[in-house]
């Protein structure tokens, strides 16, 4: 009887120890710490891969503020039209090297870029493109067509571009230019560099 009681007690202790171990392991995993995470293998001795670039046409404002001026800039060569579009747009949204002046409101980032089967591109920009815009139809026109022309000038299969703001269709950036449908490339507001 005593032996049986001892065996039962030992079994109970074992079950408790196992349960405690299991709970501890689960909690440790949930906390994301501990030695169980797989180690990342970094091959420091491998030679760097050569990154290939293309020359993209981007746009800044002309000296008199009336039009867009094209300039060439190297952007990373990407596989496929959508990744390449992302690279081009990211470059267009960055501050250009002085004395070039950007027409994109500061802080604007690319949220998404995708292309439909019919060849329309959708450029989804962060809210700064609207909330930090100076306003005025001229400035707004330059912002819109810097984006539209950057896509259509570098990706010939795309003929129309629709700008979205924060993932949604928008009426305008700042109250003037109609963004409710895709816009075609407009070279009338582009002047020679």
């Amino acid at each position: 009887m005593t032996k049986r009681r001892v065996a039962l007690m030992v079994a109970a202790v074992l079950v408790l120890v196992l349960a405690a171990w299991a709970v501890n392991r689960v909690l440790t995993r949930l906390a994301g710490v501990g030695p169980e995470t797989d180690p990342v293998i970094v091959e420091t001795s491998a030679p760097p891969t050569a990154v290939r670039h293309i020359n993209a046409t981007l746009f800044s404002v002309s000296a008199n503020g009336e039009s867009l001026v094209p300039y060439q800039q190297e952007v990373v060569l990407a596989e496929g039209i959508v990744p390449q579009g992302r690279e081009i747009l990211s470059a267009q949204l960055e501050r250009p090297t002085p004395p070039r002046v950007s027409v994109i409101p500061e802080g604007t980032t690319l949220r998404a870029f995708y292309v439909t089967d019919s060849g329309d591109a959708f450029v989804d920009l962060s809210t700064e493109v609207s909330s930090r815009h100076s306003g005025g139809s001229s400035a707004e026109l330059l912002t819109v067509y810097a984006v539209v022309n950057a896509v259509t000038a570098n990706l010939p299969t795309i003929h129309r571009v629709q700008i979205l703001i924060d993932g949604r269709e928008a009426d305008t950036l700042a109250g003037h230019i109609d963004l409710r449908s895709p816009l075609e490339r407009d070279v009338s507001i582009v002047s020679k560099p």
Partner: protein, 499 residues
Amino acid sequence: MRGAASLFPAILVLLLTALSQAQGTQSPTAPLSLISREGRRAIPTTVANGREFVALDDVASIFQISFREDTLAGGLTVTYKGRTIVVSTNQPLASVSGRAVSLSTPAARTGNRWSVPIDFFSSALSLIYDGRIELRRASRLLIVGDLRVPRVTVRIDSAGPPTRATIEIAPATRTSVVTEPGRLVIRLEADALEATVPRDGAGLIDQFRVGEEPTTVTIALADRAGPARAVPVEIDGMTRFQIDVASQVPTAETAAPTSAPVEALPPPVEVRSVLGTIVIDPGHGGEDVGVRGRNGSEEKALTLAVAQRVKALIESRLGIRVILTRDGDRGVGLDERAATANNNKAGLFLSLHLNASPVATSAGVEVVHSRVDRGGGDRGAPEDDTVVLPVFGGTTRAVDLIRWDLAQARHADTSAAFAEILAEHLRERVKMGARPRRDLPLRVLTSVNMPAVLVEMAYLSNADQEKLAQSDAYQVSVAQSILDAVLQFRTYLEGREGR
């Protein structure tokens, strides 16, 4: 210090009380004009809580009335030739020979003086008075007795030359026209006139003067004016004059060797109202400030200021109704602006804005009309449908359906024409931008079902332009250019309808 601090609330209360009293009672802009057989006289009025009052002391002898406070009746008793009116002092009511009459506000007492609302005379006293009493609020006239006081409205249709103007007299009135050197004089068979006249003339007409003699309208002609004609027509119960003034015929000394034929006056035609209503849209408003100038000015305030100037100018000079899409600092959606114009069946929509550029030196005015066809596939040419709907009475009515986002497409040519006219007139007075007229896919214009343009009046991103845009002189220049353009556009539309 503590004493001063304890006094502060009391001073604040006194200031607020003084302010509230100042707002509660104030003098109106002009006195009321009483017109009777005895002539015209000014009646002083006061305004309290937005209501206009006349002190009974001031008019008792004119109307031969007496009055006294009647505490038993709970009001003020006014007596005229033995007939009485009891005016309530706590309700906007009067009892006239036992009949209740509604007034705009109760009678009020200021010190020892009793005052009644100005509609008391036409609504209550007229019921027991021997003669007619008529109140014309808009022109601030109180007409006593059976007098003929026609409404005379003058508007300039075209600065020309030849200069053309219209004078409407309602109701129809017998008139005679006298042509004198340098002026035309129209005499009306009336006791007095209620006139709405443009402040300045235009083209070959220097000025319109009403009441130079008691019931005349004088058209003062410019030095270079030639033959002038005033032709009356009776139409729709009113007398309508069409005034035509041609340029001077060249004299032998001044005429060129191959002198042009003498300018003939155009045949008088009935001027139809092709531009009855104009909607002016002050851009932005409310939380949407628009462009902020380098020195702190806001686009929304400047657009409203110019819009109000344009409204006053067009209404006073051309007699065209002008509606603003906003008359204060409030946010209005782009579709709501278009709806205001469409619902009022306006003949022209003009949106006022101020521009901005990343380059600080950008300057000048730009006139923009809608770029309708921009390869939008399903947003191409408009395709209108007509549906037949049943209406009250068992009949039907054909209703045109126009796609909301394509409404402007059908007016593309006319909008472009007005943009050209406006740019020309602006160029005469203000600096134009590098692209004075252009077409853009403007959101606010796409749903407007009438000729429509947007004007960028200056660049607020340019400090010099900002200062200019804030000045009265610049705003007047822009407003005057718009007026001239509207005048020419009306002629353009009339010519097009006549073809």
